[in-house]
Symmetry: C2
Subunit: 336 residues, 2 copies
């Protein structure tokens, strides 16, 4: 076997083998959970092999249907995603789940959470669950999530669910990359619709009114419809599509079938109208910009670039150098 320049030594069950990128990619395409998981770790760590791997996997992508699930903390996203995954599995579809979990010393272990959730899908090789933590900042989250989705896509997952807590722009950027975005709302949560106004409402293709057995569900549904009537024009998304409101009680599995039907309706409508193509075009525009930024940062700040950044920051902080002059030095380091 010819060694790829990026060949690395990995230990698998006490054997040390030289693994090429080609080999790694082949194992991902075969759906091997360990190979998939390691790829996502490489993406999270900005491991330079991740790019080689993604380049290799890219031609095998473009088949998964990507569903974004967002909502305030406490709206029941994980439960809904698990039930929806089980629904698709029962239809014989393979499913990938990425739970975007902003790093927080208060929330603790994403890994533990994965283990607990995996138990719900125990022994099912058709479901892959993985949490991703927020590392870095300014678009890093959306970048890493999108790359992880490509890996699951190449691994043959037919449905990929990305769940993220959402109020801020960065989380919204994550779900905007999805082909269908579900926004979860629950009754009795602060000021209801008022408390969700910051950019979240506009990205919904479908509203999921979860915990629908709670008091206030009818009022919340009315509020949502009233709001949708007032603002029929959305930033982006399906023209003339008014997001339906689907009532669920995810913990009991209620309403999951109806939700899957609405998702399917939305998908068909988009495909027939040609909007799906536009959406994918838009997706790649955004992705290319993210990739561009990532590459430039790697070039400008790789190696001892961090040291240069430190010293420039210090000069600027002391007003001994103008920030615009400092940036020009960084640009020239990146070859610009």
């Amino acid at each position: 076997m010819k060694r790829h320049p990026a060949a690395r030594r990995v230990t698998i069950q006490n054997f040390t083998v030289a693994e090429t990128i080609t080999n790694w990619a082949a194992r991902i395409r075969a759906g091997e959970p360990r190979a998939i998981s390691r790829a996502i770790t490489a993406i999270e760590n900005s491991d330079p092999r991740a790019e080689d791997l993604l380049r290799e996997l890219f031609p095998s992508t473009g088949r998964a249907y990507l569903i974004g699930v967002t909502g305030a903390p406490g709206t029941g996203k994980s439960t809904l995603v698990d039930k929806l995954a089980a629904h698709y599995r029962a239809q014989g579809k393979t499913v990938g789940i990425i739970a975007v979990d902003p790093t927080s010393p208060y929330t603790g272990g994403a890994v533990l959470g994965d283990r607990i959730r995996m138990q719900g899908h125990a022994g099912d090789s058709g479901t892959f669950i993985r949490s991703m933590a927020t590392r870095g900042f300014f678009g890093g989250l959306a970048r890493a999530t999108a790359d992880a989705v490509l890996v699951l896509d190449a691994a043959g997952k037919q449905v990929v669910l990305v769940e993220t807590v959402g109020v801020g722009q960065d989380e919204i950027d994550v779900v905007q990359l999805a082909e269908c975005t579900l926004v979860l709302v629950v009754p009795g949560f602060g000021d209801d619709v008022q408390s969700m106004k910051a950019g979240l409402m506009e990205v919904a293709d479908i509203f999921v009114l979860n915990k629908a057995e709670r008091e206030g569900a009818d009022r919340l549904e009315q509020q949502l419809h009233a709001m949708l009537e007032l603002a029929p024009h959305r930033h982006d998304g399906a023209r003339g599509w008014t997001p339906p409101v689907v009532r669920t009680t995810a913990i009991e599995g209620k309403g999951i079938g109806e939700l899957a039907e609405e998702i399917e309706k939305f998908r068909e409508r988009r495909e027939q109208s040609g909007e799906q193509r536009e959406k994918i075009q838009h997706y790649w525009k955004q992705r290319l910009v993210l990739l561009l930024e990532g590459q430039v940062l790697a070039r400008a700040l790789g190696g001892d670039g961090q040291r240069l950044l430190e010293s420039l920051a210090s000069e600027v902080a002391q007003r001994r150098k103008n920030p615009y002059t400092a940036v020009r030095e960084l640009l020239s380091r990146a070859g610009l």
Copy 2:
């Protein structure tokens, strides 16, 4: 008067005058609200003159104390900021306020909001209030806010308050740029501390328990203290500083004096320990990265770069081109 290359014609009270960047900067340094406001508009619109202007203003900056104010919608941020501003004004300090308002077709006019808020400071030339909308994406908000703060700093505002709704990373990035960050919490809001976990708690230098007359305030304060005891190590910020919890009823002006004292205590402590210098160093590192990204995007996508991006996105979407190859084309357009 020698014309600056970036000279432009502006209409001021029916006179048309050629205004140079130097002139504009001088008017900002003199604190002229119209000149300040126009500078922030230029920043929001990514007007190329904004950079020339900021370069000119930069040596006059570094004096303002920047306070970030964040919290979920409905926690009373605007009211608190207004009262805190009035408190500083009563001490003879000049104040600038930037309200970061993520664009939403549901929320409507930021401008109207400014007018209403200005009435509270009517006739006071020592206070400047301005809303900024979220434009663009991936770090654009933090970039624009930081530049607007520089303008207010150059305009001689001694205290600059930046308020933003905060749960997401992008809003958190905005307040992380502040020297002192206040996180507002209110009793009876969803799952209380649980519902704020996503990255917001870690950025607090001071917790403001607003609407403290409401039921549940004691319980919330206990929760906050319990949480702070469990997690004494913060991402960033003052070492060994446990964020105090200050109770306020902002709408009645209660607790504002105590809050200002805690802010002052925090400022003094940071300055004496040398952490303030570290914080500013860290600030400029982040800022330089943001500026670098902004410059690269301008070069790669300026002119007909958008057309190139469209066509590359289309090829990638059809799997006729690998995204990494496409990015290399964009990089070469940027001169990389």
